[in-house]
Structure formats: C-alpha cells, structure tokens
Symmetry: C2
Subunit: 340 residues, 2 copies
C-alpha cells in the first residue's frame, strides 16, 4: 500500500507528471478535454492526494501559522484563538497551537521548532523573556504579532486591550454609583505582565484624578490562592472597602469565594466589578457587572495584521482595543434598593 504520487497518476493517465501538475493547478487552458478526463479518472481511481509538504518545499509557504499562548484554558486565550482560527479558515490556513505556561524556555523551544517547521507567521502571547529571539524573528522578516502583551524594545505589531480605558470605565462607574472607598484585587505585580501592570498603575492614576483616597491596604496584589485570606484580614479589622475591582477573572473568583464564605451581600456589604465578562455573570446572584474584553476582535485583528504582513511589508503598529462596560447588578448604586 505505497503512497500514491503524481507519477502514479501520470502513468495511469498516460501523460507526464507536469501535465498532471498543471491539471491540479487548474492551468487547463491548453489541455484537451480528453486528457483532463483521463487524469481525473486516474486521480479518482488511485485515490490520489497531492502531498502538500512537497509543494511547500518548492513554494516556501506552508499555509500554516503558529499561535503560542500561555494557557489555552484561559477564556481570553480560547476566544482569541477561535477568532484566529476562523480567519485562517477563510484563507485556507492552519493553526498550530502551543502552550507555554508563561515559561520562557518553553516559549523559546516552540518558536525554534515552529520556525524550523517553516510556519508562515506567528501570533504570540509573549512571556517577554526572549528578547533576543523576538529580535531575530523580526530580523528574519518572519511575520509576527503580539497579543495581550508587548515587549519593550521590540518593534512589532501588537494587539492589546486598552487597559487604562478599562480601569477608567470600572472606577468611574463605581464612583458614579456613589462608591468612594474602592479596593483593587490583583495577582502579584510583575513588570513584564503588561495587562496587570497597566491596570494596577491605571487604578492609582484614575483614583488620583478623581480625587479619591488611595489606601494602600486596599490594593491587594497577592498570589491568587491567598487573596481570600487577605480579604479576610481586612474584614476582621472592619476595613473592607465599599467596592472591589477585580482586575481579571481569576481574581474575581477569589473575591467571590471570600464573599460566599462570609455570606456578604453584594453590593450592600461590598460592591463588585471586574475585567473579563465571565460566562456566569448574568446568572450569578446578583448578576455581575463586568468590563468585557473584545476577545474576538483581538483575535481577528491579530490575524488580519499577520496576513497583511505576509502580503507585504507593513509598519509595526500597536492596537489598543476598547473594553465594554456590561452593567448588571453587582455594583448598583450605593444605598439603592436592589431587585434581585
């Protein structure tokens, strides 16, 4: 059961390989109907499938891109990926997906391997720790788009959330609803994690601009699993802020764990808003007010830019996509009667 090749088809159809090739590439302008039919029959009879690998070798294009993410289990990642895959589908491209778990070593290995595999481009959620490699990719003119994070000193297309805008949306909303004592909950500060850094930074910025007090105790940046106990401590001291802003879905979960444990009432005891529109936001009681990331748009944009790069030279650009406030009940006006 040897693999059938073009030569086999040619032999059976009694023509040469090139004729078969022309046929496959629809260059039938000068081909007799008779020949076409014979080739078609031979292909059908032999169940011939062109070997794209061989073609790639010649044409220097694999119609495949590599997408390197931290963890496909994160909702944002999944959605971005889905959007990328949809775009690729339209261009008859395929997507190779790799998880780095935010480990620079894994990232390096994946980039090397996919590069060797001749992928036509990369969309990466960068760990930020392989600056030399990123530079080499750019030097080699490998189409490349960063998503979610950028890396200082790397001049490349990047598609990010407008984090400052997201924080503004959240904090201003809380303020408008009458909350003045606002806390933030985030994982530990890490300068290379752009969204986190920007959000925490913007938080201070926005509070200051609104003339609100910045209480350091209310800026909880902590290992995710230890967030509930940090909040516990605040509660014990009776120092819980009136409202909590969770900077992403992971931290939101911890806040909810805390809230549930103490049977606090939202938003009466503490109001709640978060970035990432979690799927259960509307069925939770009370329904959760969130700032949604335009995940699909981000994926779409990233893919678009990548295809533009593959089509020809473009200048690197940074795109900040707009977040969206989805108002529900968890941060309703202070003192206002809640209907749930």
């Amino acid at each position: 059961m040897r693999k059938v090749t073009m030569a086999d088809v040619a032999r059976l159809a009694n023509v040469s390989k090139s004729t078969v090739s022309q046929y496959l590439n629809k260059r039938y302008e000068y081909m007799s109907e008779e020949t076409k039919k014979r080739i078609a029959e031979a292909i059908e009879q032999l169940q011939y499938r062109p070997n794209v690998i061989a073609r790639s070798l010649k044409q220097k294009s694999t119609a495949t891109i590599g997408v390197i993410v931290f963890n496909i289990l994160h909702m944002l990642t999944t959605q971005v990926l889905r959007a990328i895959e949809d775009m690729c589908q339209q261009h008859d491209f395929h997507v190779i997906v790799c998880n780095t778990d935010d480990d620079p070593e894994k990232e390096r290995k994946y980039i090397d391997m996919l590069w060797a595999k001749q992928v036509d481009g990369f969309i990466i959620f960068p760990t930020g720790k392989n600056v030399d490699l990123y530079k080499k990719m750019i030097e080699a003119r490998l189409p490349l788009v960063f998503v979610d994070r950028t890396v200082e000193g790397i001049d490349v297309d990047a598609v990010l959330l407008d984090n400052e805008g997201a924080v503004q949306l959240a904090v201003r909303y809380l303020v408008k609803q009458g909350y003045k004592h606002i806390g933030l909950v985030a994982p530990p500060f890490a300068s290379h994690v752009i969204p986190r850094t920007e959000r925490i930074h913007a938080f201070r910025h926005v509070l200051r601009a609104a003339n609100l007090p910045i209480e350091e105790e209310w800026i909880v940046t902590e290992q995710v699993k230890r967030i509930p106990e940090r909040l516990d401590a605040l509660l014990r001291q009776n120092k819980l802020p009136e409202a909590i802003f969770a900077i992403n879905d992971l931290t939101l979960m911890e806040v909810l764990t805390f809230v549930k444990k103490h049977q606090l009432s939202i938003p009466t005891d503490v109001a709640l808003i978060s970035i990432d529109d979690v799927p259960f936001a509307s069925v939770y009681t009370p329904s959760l007010t969130t700032i949604a990331q335009p995940a699909f748009d981000m994926g779409k944009k990233a893919a678009e830019r990548l295809f533009m790069q593959m089509d020809g030279e473009t200048r690197p650009q940074m795109f900040r996509l707009a977040p969206k406030l989805i108002e529900r009940d968890s941060a309703k006006k202070r003192g206002e009667k809640n209907e749930w």
Copy 2:
C-alpha cells in the same frame, strides 16, 4: 537575505552536505573533533536552522497531528485539547487545531487538507456524517482516535465518557437525597450526538430501574434558548419537578437563568445537578453539585492511543472514562436545613 541552507553551512565549513547532515543527526562516531568544531561554528555564524519540511519529505513524518473539534470554546474541548497538547509536547509533536462547528462539510475539508499536509495522525470529535471518509482514513492506516462520540460502523479507537454511569451517579444521588420527581433538561434529541442520546436514554433507564415515575413533561429536550420558557410553563402549571438534572453545562446555564428569573430557592424549590463541573460551581450560591467529566484524562488517553497507533498496529478499542460526583449544596437532602 536568502534563507541559509545546509549547503551554505557545508561550503563555509569546507565539508560536504552529507557531513553536515551527519553532524546534525548526531552521528559523530567517526567524525573528527576538528570537523565538528568547524561545522558548529559555521552553523552559529550563519544562524542556520534546518528545514524540517525538507526532512519530512524524506522521512514521511511531520511530527504533527490534527485535532478536529466542534468548537474550541466549549470547556470540555479546551481541556481535552490542553491534555493532548501536553502529551504532544513530551514527544516533540505539534498540534493543528480545527473547529467544525459540527458542520460535516467543514469536517471533510479539514480532514482532506490535513491529510494532504501529511499529519501523522488525527484526534477527532466526529460530526458522524462523513462515514466514507472515516473509512478511507482507516483503510489508509492513518492513526485515528475519536473523542466524545463514536460513529456506528467505524471500527476505531474512541475515548468517551461513561454516560450511563454519569447519569446513574446523578440520579441515584438525587434519589438518595430523597428526591422522587426528577426532571431532565437537554438540547433536542439528535441520534448522532452520542453523549446526549446516551444520557437521555440512560435517564429513562435509571428511573425505571429505581421504580420512579417517568413523567414525559419532565423530560425537556429543547433548543437551548427556549429551555427557560419550557420551564416557565411547567412552573405556571405548578408542575415543576422536585429536582432537575441538566445534562451539560449549556443546559445548566438555562436552568439557572430560569431559577434566577423566578427567584426560586435551590434546593428547596428545586434541586439541581448537572454534568460538567463548571468553574463557578463552588462560588455559586448555593454551590452546585455536579458530575465532572475527566476531560484531561480523556485527552491524555486519546493522545496515548494515537501514539500507540503510530508506533505500530493496535486493535481498535473503546474507552469509557469514569465521571465523578462532586457533592456540593444544590441537591442536598430534601427538607434538610441548608447552611448557605
């Protein structure tokens, strides 16, 4: 800036291509230190990266597998995928991911394209509608594993949830907690959707075995978006069952929407259990009792079987992985005081 090839390295190192090739493949047994060094230097200087595509052509292996799923956005899919990717990472394999949206046409196209791309194997969540193609794949000895669903008449490795067991776990638990009037909520019946079919079927079976009444009105199989209204109707007629079994996460969401709308109290007004351990199960109030699918194990098993097939012949086998009851508060004993 032409791509640098092995020939360039050979020229610079003053050896032949074959020697470079040997070097790369670590066949240095009879190679002089001197030569080794020269080659190493040339490679470094030229920043040479072997072209895996060319190698694949020769070796008939791409170290790449195709994974074809309905929709990467589903939690089960994401988790299975993550497990597959982890396994592949260990074998230095890559994963191409494709979404079919349960459309047989898309599925056919993807299989054809990936086949042409010479992937070394397939893991598929099959739509079930391309029987001829599946058969051709098997005929061609293409390593293949089905996940989540099987297809009648196709003799191939398949990794599935033990659906009957999952339903038993759910219903027996409800019964043990004192519930007798149990309803089921599911998307519309469709014979090729194995999990759904098996769960609905098993539900009747288990009820019968437990000598419980099978009330047709309580078996709600309906378009997901219309589920709440179906439940509304039951409620209006005062015919709501004591407990509801949602056969997956999607339907669970609809039940929760219904519950929230009417401000019903769980489990007092209606108890709730579902298949799929949604991420918010423990922070919801009350926390949700669920039947968890062993998604990671499923992915791992599928990948293992695929690698076994690639290693040599194996006999097709069906694997039924065990679900797990995660007891929380949404289906606590009828009449028992709840502490949330």
